[in-house]
Symmetry: C2
Subunit: 243 residues, 2 copies
């Protein structure tokens, strides 16, 4: 059986769908026009939430229809959530792309005393970038993009356990192994370009966020978030791929 050109289709409804699925919108376009798949060829797909599948193309063109040949559930070995203040300019776009590639679980835009996200949140554009990054890295997970919310609301909602870190040029050198935890995920807070204020730093500390220094120099918001993603990705070990 021929494989269609390297491809990785995003099917959010893969878990719910039956054995035949009619594709629509971006994904129909991707399969018929970008991948140029033909009836009889195989494709790979994911729902972006840990479920992957092998598909057989039944029709590609006016209607694009596939049959699910096999589904496979993947478990995350580790989970990193980045709570991020607003960066300057349009730098959030590539932050989304890069965190997606690195396998970060979620980007949570946090509104801070000194800076709010406001119109810097571009959800539709970010979704497209996150899907493209997932395809590029052939990951079963799409970066989750939360709605912007105040830092103060996010703290009491934290799940217990896991690691909590604060990117801080005045913090200690990071222990390279201390980015993942068997006991829950990792949450790292990165301030906006103007930084967290004293009251926010105090609350983060009360909630167990310990300051770590990422580099000798002060980093921009998006650079700090990307450095965190890189350190975490390097510390992750492969997890189980079947369940």
């Amino acid at each position: 059986v021929a494989e269609a050109a390297p491809s990785f289709v995003h099917l959010p409804d893969l878990a719910a769908g039956g054995d035949e699925i009619v594709l629509s919108g971006d994904e129909a376009h991707y399969v018929s026009r970008v991948v140029r798949a033909r009836a009889g060829e195989r494709l790979h797909a994911t729902d972006g939430a840990g479920l992957t599948a092998t598909l057989e193309v039944l029709a590609a063109g006016a209607e694009t229809r596939v049959r699910v040949l096999a589904r496979e559930r993947h478990e995350r070995a580790a989970r990193l959530e980045i709570w991020c203040g607003v960066p300057e300019g349009d730098r959030a776009d590539w932050l989304v792309e890069k965190l997606g590639e690195l396998g970060v679980a979620a980007l949570v835009p946090v509104d801070c005393a000194r800076a709010s996200w406001g119109r810097s949140v571009r959800h539709e554009r970010w979704e497209r970038l996150a899907i493209a990054a997932m395809r590029q890295s052939r990951s079963p997970w799409k970066l989750e993009l939360a709605a912007a919310r105040p830092l103060g609301d996010s703290l009491p909602a934290l799940a217990p356990g896991g690691l909590r870190r604060l990117a801080d040029p005045l913090g200690g050198a990071p222990d390279p192994d201390a980015w993942t935890s068997a006991d829950g995920g990792t949450v790292v807070a990165v301030g906006p370009s103007s930084g967290f204020d004293a009251s926010e730093l105090k609350r983060l500390s009360e909630y167990g966020f310990t300051p770590v220094r990422l580099a000798q120099a002060r980093l921009r918001t998006e650079t700090a978030a990307l450095a965190v993603g890189s350190l975490w990705a390097a510390a992750c070990r492969p997890g189980p791929t079947r369940a």
Copy 2:
């Protein structure tokens, strides 16, 4: 004495210049228009090669003139050079910005069997981005931007000693402490989006480049280079700042 607004002036001739320097071009504009410094105020400056200085503004406007009050020589605690294949699109721009912020010593564009830099090298634009990153991070060093050169020419010219690593999704998990070396600097090779070919991988191996995996997923060229910069920056310890 008043400090001018947070500022960090790039004076490439700081080492050669006498005690009074007349600024020109971008730096004169930066001091008089961006920082809006006035006569009598203090500024900080660097030559981008480890020499910093405290300056007194003598005149700002039609002519911008400063007096050097004190010079200070900084030694690099560690040096990272990234040999990078060409990334896709215009992604090299932000690679320059981010490697500059992280304190990477040099970006060396390498032409590979499967992809050459060609017109993707934008030296003037990159210089501006590297200077902006240096100012942002208040670093005494500007990212060095080498001319593009064939990988094959670069290998025999390598200085002896130090660490040599190859970013490779099939490599081993990186030892987090193995990014800096007391015995010379670190050189990391990152392939173009199409990858190094078999003959290049063989030569890199002969020259002691050991493959390390940066993340579970395959990363884009520029993401891999940035992950390397982040891992190295986190592993660096502060060095001496006076000599």
